[in-house]
Amino acid sequence: MDGYNYLGRGKYCAIYSSDEAFDVASTANDGEIKRTQNILEEVANNGFENIHENMFKIEGRFPSGSHKLKDVLVYTTKKNDLRIYCGFLEINGKRLLCVEAAIKKQNKADQAQLKRVAKKLGELFDEYG
């Protein structure tokens, strides 16, 4: 997938990150980076059943704009100010795609960003799904 980096694969899914999310996440502090890594590794290996919503949260279902995929669930990893917005797609197996990241001061999710992430996931599914 153009613009996406393969990060790794576990029993549950593979993880990919966009260049954009990569650039933002790399500006976070060490604690934020490590915690996010742990969350993503747990999701890749075991899914998110055992992860508290304070760490990995379902933000909601948003229209993807795709003909093949009506709505998509957008998830967020959370550690202090670092958020990574992601979603699962079935593209040659289950993939968690980290679409965007943000360094936020507010706890409340930016609805426009969540909708944008869902649209990007829809575009990816149209192209590769």
Partner: protein, 134 residues
């Protein structure tokens, strides 16, 4: 899996922050797994502990670095399940002779090289002493 590409390798400058995050995450995950296994919700756990639900939620937050061993023990009692932090490659066990409780932590001691805690007045050779006083 290796996410060093995005998240960077552990080095001298981030070693401490990485170690703290690893342990906190491991404890939080173990508690969450234990709650799931026992079918205990956050609300039920709060009721058992006599605390607010937001206090329990705080344990799983990203700012719960100062969770004490006493708190972990209380949570373990309230959940009614042994909390085992066992998802590390190199493990060591600190085990009582009566192993009702143990912690497996990320310490580089071979798994089978058990360090058994003993009381200061523990009798190493009871038979010998028995003969001497007998």
């Amino acid at each position: 899996m290796n996410m060093d590409k995005l998240f960077g390798k552990r080095n001298e400058t981030n070693n401490e922050a990485f170690a703290i995050e690893d342990l906190v995450f491991k404890v939080q995950l173990a508690l969450q797994k234990a709650m799931k296994k026992r079918g205990i919700s956050q609300k039920q756990l709060a009721r058992r502990l006599g605390v607010s639900e937001s206090w329990v939620s705080q344990i799983f937050s990203d700012s719960s670095h100062n969770i004490t061993l006493a708190t972990i023990a209380k949570l373990e009692l309230a959940i009614g399940k042994k909390i085992v932090f066992d998802d590390c490659k190199e493990t060591a066990e600190v085990q009582r002779e009566d192993p009702k409780f143990y912690i497996v932590g990320n310490v580089s001691i071979p798994k089978h090289n058990h360090w058994i805690e003993k009381a200061a007045n523990h009798n190493e050779v009871p038979e010998k002493r028995a003969r001497k006083h007998g």
